[in-house]
Amino acid sequence: MPPWRGKVITKVVAECGALRGSGSEKLMFRRALQRGLRPGLSFRRLGTRRGGSTLDWDGKVAEIRKKIQSALPGDTWDPLYDTSHLPPEHADVVVVGGGVIGLSVAYWLKKLEKKRDAIRVLVVERDSTYSKASTVLSVGGIRQQFSLPENIQLSLFSANFLRNINEYLGVVDAPPVDLQFNPSGYLLLASDKDAAVLENNVKVQRQEGAKVCLMSPEHLRTKFPWINTEGVALASYGMEGEGWFDPWSLLQAFRLKLQSMGVLFSQGEVTRFVTSSTSMETSSGEQVNLKRIYEVHVKMDNSLEYQPVECAIVINAAGAWSGQVAELAGIGMGPPGTLQGIKLPVEPRKRYVYVWHCPQGPGLETPLVADVSRVYFRREGLGCNYLGGRSPTEEEEPDPTNLEVDHDFFQDKVWPHLATRVPAFNNLKVQSAWAGFYDYNTFDQNGVVGPHPLVVNMYFATGFSGHGLQHAPAVGRAVAEMVLEGHFQTIDMSPFLFSRFYLEEKFQERNIF
């Protein structure tokens, strides 16, 4: 940048203070400013420099320009104060919750929309550091070994999605997405009394197309010599499409792709839904009040400021806190026993994950082993580190108000079972531990997907009780199909609808740990 330009700028800046508030001279000053900063008048082209100047003239010019523009009165269409941190005033779809399920729903909404930029999607996330989000605190496993065919289909599609992640979430000019997927599979062990159920499950899984095989105890001993098969009658081993990956990379890949697709992100907390209701009569003459949410109040952090966002559809993907968000919409505020009185039965449940080091432990081929006693563990990296945990029983449920780790739980409830199953784990040293929330569905431990019968424009995508991450891509697609077409197209998720809580039809998933 030629040196005389700098002199013009400094002169202009000096005159700025003197000229502030005066009329005609301001116009002259503005013209001088534009002349000084416009590149056309310099006799050197853009990008060329005399020698190697390290004074960063471009940066300084940008700063001074910004200062001057903020000092001058704005144009007629500027707002009175800076609103760049607030969400927009209108959006078509508001996704409450920016975890992997919310981002997946937003992605599929944009992917399946009929015209380009037809839908404006806003993702509202309370915590941009994701410090308590279940997604990033998850162990990151994906398996097809479920008991219900719909869950198996969801997992199969999600495995396909993760395998072709670069085709789905690839952005031009960004580095390829690396999920660090370990295709090592899941090994589920069953005792005598559960062996028949396991065999039945494997039959269903193979029918749906999952590659799972059954193993007898002798077979287990030859393949995995570090296992102690006492008390194990049968085992099922997933050969393909099962394993674990890094959920943080998936989340970042989704974020980057969504930003490139034009989805708006906002940091804030949803504090209020403003609804309008219409009254309708059923065929038996009963009055039913149907509500529509037409405004969402998004409150900023550490402030009373909120932005009312006018919207057409709200997606509840708030994970462990979906129950609270549903209450804001008035779900469950009615006489018990009626449809109005059924709450969303999703509540946070705390689960611990421990990381330990065991130098003589199982080798590189270790799958994610889930024992009869509901203890699970997997290998982490190349350095003989393992991580795992156990689902507590109903009586031992820890307090979900914080994410403090109980180390005695490992000593008393996890280590004995680990050592029984894998004798090498008698000598281990716990390196660290963390806790995360399950969005636990107290009714049947299976997800809630689809619209609410009374609050007609709130769609749920929550309650997966520990297997939300592995179903996220498929669930996102299902919710997008429901929103855009009105019915599920690829996978029939009608058993997951909210109405099953009123009809008391449990859609129980038995392989949960």
Partner: protein, 260 residues
């Protein structure tokens, strides 16, 4: 924006040179180098014009579709010609080489012509397949898994072979004796861990795998995992020169042993 064909080709070649998307597989290895990218004209235009962005996305999709077309399914041939000829035909169509039992190596000609005499070999098992440098991917492996008596498989420098593909190789466990993965940019130690199914493997080549974070440690762990197999490529001993000085601990122990 109706770009004329010549302009599109020019743009495509520029794209292949400069984009770091799917073509830039080295991004998997060294993501830091992508931060210091210099902005080319195309990237600059993409940031400012929606048409350019759409064009670049279209070109990217075309690259992906090209690979998918190369790996399209020939399984319909299986009823008529049998699994061996189907698999061999796929390999030859892709540009690789195939060796039937008792025959010489067969390759396609320079223009991709495959000799029709391959149809006579429908009952002869295929013993070796070499798809080095070809664009085989997960779907394409369907055809190779048909060859139940395959003894040697060479996947050297295949750009689309990744950990998922390695997890798929377990049906060949009964016969596969030699596997070469040298130079595959997407294979990491996580995929290599799935090779424990291949208990008949006698020779495994894992040299020059840029995505493996600790090659020597992986080599040792693989040797433990596959005790009958000779693992070649990333040995911990190959970094030591002959006549190397012993470590300080060893030399001090030796000196104390001598003195006592």
């Amino acid at each position: 924006m109706a770009a004329p064909r010549a302009f599109q080709r020019l743009v495509a070649s520029e794209l292949c040179k400069n984009s770091r998307g799917l073509q830039g597989l080295s991004g998997v290895v060294a993501p830091e180098s992508n931060q210091k990218k210099k902005r080319t004209l195309l990237q600059f235009l993409s940031d400012y014009f929606y048409d350019m962005e759409a064009l670049r996305e279209y070109l990217l999709r075309r690259q992906i579709l090209k690979v998918q077309r190369k790996n399209r399914s020939f399984l319909a041939l299986k009823e008529h010609y049998g699994p061996y000829v189907t698999g061999a035909y796929f390999v030859l169509k892709l540009g690789g080489a195939v060796k039937f039992q008792g025959q010489e190596w067969m390759r396609p000609s320079k223009h991709g012509w495959i000799s029709p005499s391959i149809g006579n070999l429908h009952s002869v098992p295929v013993e070796a397949v070499d798809v080095s440098g070809c664009v085989i991917n997960y779907e394409g492996l369907d055809h190779i898994l048909l060859l139940k008596e395959l003894r040697s498989l060479s996947l050297q420098r295949c750009p689309h072979v990744d950990d998922w593909c390695l997890a798929r190789l377990y049906p060949l466990a009964g016969s596969l004796q030699e596997l070469s993965l040298a130079g595959c940019p997407r294979v990491s130690e996580r995929g290599l861990a799935c090779l424990h199914h291949l208990q008949n493997l006698r020779r495994l080549d894992i040299s020059d795998l840029p995505a493996v974070s600790h090659p020597s440690l992986t080599h040792i762990l693989l040797e433990e995992m596959l005790p009958h197999c000779e693992v070649v490529g990333a040995g911990w001993a190959q970094d030591l020169q002959p006549g190397d000085t012993p470590s300080p601990v060893q030399s001090s122990l030796q000196s104390t042993a001598h003195s006592s």
